[in-house]
Symmetry: D2
C-alpha cells in the first residue's frame, strides 16, 4: 500500500516559517471589493515614552507589510521632556507622516489621552491638532478630539496596572461616554494581551474591535515566536488604500484582528476573510475509488488549524489538520459513493466570531471524476 | 571503500525542526512505571517488494529514535524473486535482527499474510518460522501464526485497492476471525492513511490500535512535512524495553498512535501520556494582580494545539494556543481574585479518545502569590 | 556615514543553504556549447555489497539533480549471495536502467573489477556484458572490458586498506596498463577521500579525473555537512545529454570534479566553468566617487571563496570575500580615478588547477559612470 | 502599557546561524590572561543624527554579546535640534551609561568631532565633559579632548563623501596631529567600509586599529548576511572587563578587528587569538595506516577558511577547508610513516596581519598511535 503524493512547497513562506513566525511581509487576501489593509493604531516614539525616532516606526511597518500606522504618543506622559521639551504634540506625527508619505505608508495623526481609570487611556485618530487636547478633564479632551472629527477607541481595558484582575469592564463613566457616542472602538488586543471580555463589550455595545501593538521599544524584539511571533495587527477592509477609506471602514466596523495565532472578528467580516484565505484549488476523485483529493491553499500569513465537521470522514488524517501560511494541503475525503457535489464543512480552530466560539465555513465541492 | 565518520552536530535536531517536522530523534515521555516505546510494526525490505536491505530499516529506525520495528515482508508477493529467490521467509528478519541486536534496536519477527479481501492483509508478529505460514487458505495461515504464538493484526482496512470507498468495515470473515480470537489489533493508520472507521472498529471490538509506516522505499522521503512530517508510529507503554514487554503491552492494548499532527488512544492511556507530555512547571501570580503566569512545558515531539475550556479566561491569548514540541509556553490566566487553588482545564485539539472526540485534561494549580 | 545597500536574496538557495549544504537539486552552468552534466560513476546496490535496490539509486540521483550514474557492482565481492545468487552481473544495471529510462536519468552499464593491489579496483563503464569479465587474471578482465569497448578508470588509489599511507602511487602493473592504454581515468575523489597524489598522476599521465561517491548505504546519510555536504560529483562537459556524449566527453577528459567545498580541474575546463559560474551582472561608479559597485552572481551550487588579486583595493571588504551559491554579491572596488575599463583579477580559493595551485580568473570591467 | 516577558529560547541562537549569520551573542576566546572584549566605539543616537534613544543602543549591544560601547554623537551636527535642543552634549552618554550600568554593559563617554576634511571626523573616548569640545578650531577641540585625557581616533578615512576615491591618506594636518600625539587610533572599518590603506597607515604610524559600526539606524537591519552578517566589532584584549582596562588595552594597541568574514590584526595579537580560536582537540592515527585524524574545534563566532600549507597532503579534502563557527572539523593528514610528532601548518585565508598578507599558524601534533 504505497502512494506518492506530489506536493509543491512555495519557497517563500517556508523559509520564513523556519522561525515559527508568520511570513514577513505579512499579507491577507482582499475580498468583496474591499482591500484588506494591515494596520497598527497604537504606537509610541521618543516624543512620549517610546524609544525610537518616528521614522523607525515607518520602516518597521513597511518591513512587515503594514499599510497604515497611527502615531499615538501620550499627551500626559512625556518622561523624556528634560531632553525633548513637550511643547508640540503634533511633532511625532509630522515627522513620521513626512517620511511615510515618501515611502508609501499611510500615517494617521493620533494621540493617546492618558488618564487614571476611569476612563483610563483612549486613542483619538485622525486629529488635526493634538495640542488642543491638553485639558484637565478627560471628557473635555475627548470632546475636543471629537470636535476635530476624531475616531476614538478605548485602550487596553484589560491592563492590570489600571484593572488588577485584567477583566475589562465598563465603568459608569465609560457607559456615559458610550451614551454620548464618544467611544467608537475598543482594543481586544494590546501588546501581548488579549481580552475575551473586551470582545464581549464590543459585541454588546456595537464597538469596532482593534488589535494594536502599543509598541515602545523595537517591534522585532517585542513579539518573539512562539508566544506571539508578530505584532498585533488590525485588518481593515477598506474601499481603497487611503487614510479616508480606513476611516470609513473603521466607522463601519469592518475589522478583523490578528494576535499570536488567532483571528477574531464578527461573522460578517471573518467569514469572507477566511473564505478568501482558505481556497479550494481543485477536487478530484482518486481513480477507482470514492475518495476525493481536495487541494486547499492558504493565502494568508496565518497558519490555519482546521477541524473537519462535515458528515464524511477523512482518508489521510484524523479530523484535525493544519494548512500552513502560504502553503497547500491535500485533504482526502471519503464520500462513500461518487458524488457530483457535496459540502466540505470546516471549523477553523484558531478563528473566533465570539468569545470561545469558532467560525464554521463550508465549501460546495464539485469534484472531477 | 567505506568508512563511517561519527560526527555529532549539536544543532542537528533543532535544524530539522525548523522545517516544520517534529524533531528527530522523536521522543515521548514515560509514565506510571511504563516505558513509552516508539514502534513501527509494518515494514518491507527487498525480500518482498521493499527497496532496501533489512539493515537500512534498522538504521532508519535508530536515527528517528524508534525502540522497536517489526520486519513484515509479504509471504505471497515477492516481485524480486527473479533475483532474490523466495525460498526462506525468515531471512529479512534474521538479517535485520542480527544487525539490530548489535545496535540496540528491538527487531520483531513478523510476516504479512497477503490476501484478497476478505480478509485482506494481516501481520503476524513474534513468529518463530515464517515459512510455515505459506498455506493456501488464509485462515489456515492465520491459525498457523497463532500456533506459533503470534500476535495478529488487520492491516490497512481503509486501503482503497481492496475497499474502494476507503471505509473500513468488518466482513463476515473478519467477524469469524474475531470470534475465534484470531485478530488482536487493527491499523488505524497505515502509510499516509488514517481511518476513523478502523478506530471505531477497534473500540467496539476491543482491538489494540496501531499506526505503522508500511514503508517500501525510504522513510526520509515518504512522509514529508507539512502533510505528515514523520512516519506513523505506535507508542507502546511497556514494563521494560524488551520484545517480551512489547508483546505484553500489545496484548493489553497499551498503545497510543501518532500520525501527522495527531495522537489517538483510549482515555486510559492517552490521558496519562498527555499529562506526562504537557507539564505545569510553575504558576505564580503577577505582582499586584489576580493574573497567574503558568509555565507549561511540552516534553513530547508533537506540537500540542490547546483550547482553554476552564471557567477563567486568558490574558495573553484567546482560548486557542500552541505549545511547540520541546518548548515552553507561558499561559496567563485571569482568576478574578487571588486563589490558593484552581483548575486549569484544557482540550487538546489534536488528541482524540474516540472518532471526533478530543481529550480533556485538567491540572490543579496552586499558584505562588 | 550611512549607506543602504539593497540586496535581493534568491530564496531558493538561501533555504537550502540553511543546512550549510549546497542547494539540491545541484546545478552548475553550461558553457561553450557544452552541457554541464552532473555524474557519479561509482555506485553499489544490493547486488554486491550495497544496501539498496537499484531503483533507489535512480531516485537518489534525480533528487540531487544528477544527469547520469553508473551502476558498478563488484564482480568478485558479493556478500549477499546467500540471498541474491551471483549468477548474472548485468542485473543491477538492467533494473536501474529500465527505471532510469522512464524517469529521465542516464544509467551507464558498469562493473567494478575488484582485486588485491596491484592493480586494486578498476571500474569499467559502457559494458555490454558484465559476466564476461569474470576472469581469474585481472589484466584479462580489463582486456575483456576493453574488448567490449569499455572506458576504464582506477578506483580510490588512496584507499588505506590497499595503500596504508594513502599516497596514491603507480605500481609497475599500473605503468604496464597505462602503456597498453588500458586505463583512461583515475579517481581523485572517492567517497570521503581526496588525493592530491591522484591528481598529480592524472596530470602527468594524461588521465581523466573523476570524483565518485562509491556509495553503499544511503547518499543522504553519507555526506553530511559541514565536512562534505553533498556526494562527490564529476562534472562532465558533454555535447548533449546522452550516454554517448558522456563517453565522448570522458574520452576527451572534459571533466571537473566537485568534492566538499572544492572544485578541481585543468585550466582548460575549470576556467570556463568558473567564468560561467561567477558572472559580472553590472558595474557602476558610485555617484561623485571613483568607487565601482560590481554586482557578481554565483550561478553554481558551490559557494565561491574569493581573493582579490588585482591592483585596486576593495572598499567594502578586505581582499577575501564569499559569494554564496545562487546569490549575488556587491563588490566595491577603488579605481583611484574614473576609468573606462579595468581588470578585475580574482583568485578562487576553493578551485584548483594543480595540487595546491588555485585558479585565477579575470574580468574586463567597463563600468557605467 | 508595557511589560517585558523574559523568555529563553534554547534554539534561538542556532536558528540565527542558519541564515548565514554568525551566531548571536557573538563570542571570541580569551588568551594569555587577557579578556577578549567585544567593543563598538562609534555609535549615534537621536541626540545627533541617530534614530534611537540611547538605551536601545545598550540593548542592541547586549543581545549581540558586546562588552562595551562608546556613545559618540556628533558635536557639530544635530539635525534633530528643533525637537531635541542641542544644549548638553553629555546627555546621550549619561542616559546610556545609567541604563548600561544596570544591565552590565560598559558604556564609554565619547563624542564625534565632526569637521570638513582635513581633519574630517575624529572620535574622542573617555571624556569628562563633551560640551567643552565645542570650539571653532578642530585642533583646539582635539586638544581639549586630550586635556580631558581622551583617547582619540580618526574616523572613516575612506569615506567617499570626504575622500571621493575612498583612498585613506594622511594630510599635512593629520601628520601634524600625529606629530603632536593627538591621534591614537584609526578606523580600518567603518559601517560597511573596509580600508587596506587605513590598515597600512596604522602599521606605519603605530596606531591602534578599530572596526566600528557608526550605527545610526537599527543594528539588526544594517548589516545583513551574506554581505556582512554582523556589525563591525573591535576585539579588545583587556586585563579585566572594565572601562579602565579597555583604555589601557587601547593605549597598548591590543586590538583585532572583525568585519564581514574577516579578522585583521597584528601578528602579536592575531596569532594568539587564532590559536585560542582554532584548537586541536585530538589527533590519532587511523588503525593500520599512517593517516592521522585531527579534530579541530573553532571556538570563535567566525567561520575559519583554512589552507593546508604543511608538507603533508590531506586525505579527506584538498588543501582548502572550512571550520564553521562553534563546530568541529576532522582533518585527515597523510604523514607517510607513523610519526611521534609533526607540524600542522595552516594559513587562515580570512585573517590578515598586513594588507593582503594572511596569517600562518602552526601546531605541533603528537598523535596517538
Amino acid at each position: 500500500m504505497k502512494k506518492a503524493t506530489a506536493i509543491l512547497f512555495s519557497c517563500f513562506f517556508c523559509i520564513i516559517d523556519l522561525f515559527g513566525q508568520s511570513a514577513q511581509p505579512y499579507s491577507f487576501p482582499s475580498f468583496s471589493g474591499y482591500h484588506t489593509l494591515l494596520c497598527d493604531f497604537h504606537i509610541h516614539t521618543v516624543f512620549s515614552d517610546g524609544l525610537v525616532w518616528p521614522t523607525i516606526r515607518v520602516d518597521e511597518a513597511l518591513r512587515e507589510g503594514l499599510d497604515a500606522i497611527a502615531i499615538t504618543d501620550h499627551l500626559e506622559y512625556t518622561p523624556h521632556d528634560r531632553d525633548i521639551p513637550a511643547v508640540d504634540f503634533n511633532r511625532s506625527y509630522e515627522i513620521a507622516a513626512e517620511y511615510g508619505n515618501k515611502k508609501g505608508l499611510i500615517v494617521i495623526h493620533g494621540s493617546e489621552i492618558t488618564r487614571e481609570m476611569p476612563p483610563g487611556h483612549l486613542n483619538a485618530l485622525f486629529l488635526s491638532n493634538s495640542n488642543m487636547l491638553k485639558k484637565e478633564d478627560p471628557v473635555e479632551a475627548i470632546r475636543e478630539a471629537r470636535k476635530q472629527g476624531a475616531w476614538i477607541f478605548w485602550n487596553h481595558p484589560m491592563w492590570t496596572a489600571q484593572k488588577p484582575d485584567g477583566m475589562a469592564e465598563l465603568t459608569s463613566l465609560h457607559k456615559q461616554l458610550l451614551k454620548e457616542n464618544l467611544i467608537d472602538g475598543i482594543e481586544v488586543v494590546n501588546d501581548n494581551n488579549f481580552s475575551d471580555e473586551s470582545f464581549e463589550i464590543a459585541l454588546k455595545n456595537n464597538l469596532a474591535i482593534l488589535a494594536n501593538s502599543d509598541i515602545h521599544g523595537l517591534v522585532d524584539w517585542s513579539f518573539p515566536a512562539p508566544q506571539t511571533g508578530h505584532r498585533p495587527i488590525t485588518l481593515v477592509f477598506a474601499r481603497e488604500k487611503s487614510s479616508d477609506a480606513i476611516r470609513e471602514a473603521l466607522e463601519n466596523h469592518r475589522t478583523v484582528i490578528w494576535h499570536a495565532h488567532i483571528l477574531v472578528g464578527t461573522q460578517e467580516f471573518l467569514e469572507p476573510l477566511i473564505k478568501a484565505s482558505l481556497v479550494v484549488e481543485s477536487a478530484v476523485y482518486q481513480p477507482k475509488t470514492s475518495v476525493v483529493s481536495i487541494t486547499l491553499v492558504n493565502k494568508s500569513s496565518q497558519d490555519l488549524y482546521v477541524e473537519n465537521t462535515g458528515k464524511f470522514t477523512l482518508h489521510n488524517t484524523g479530523p484535525f489538520f493544519i494548512i500552513k501560511a502560504g502553503e497547500k494541503y491535500v485533504l482526502e475525503i471519503k464520500t462513500i459513493s461518487k458524488r457530483d457535489q457535496f459540502e466540505l464543512a470546516l471549523k477553523i480552530v484558531n478563528a473566533y466570531i465570539a468569545p470561545g466560539k469558532n467560525i464554521q465555513v463550508s465549501y460546495l465541492i464539485s469534484p472531477e471524476k
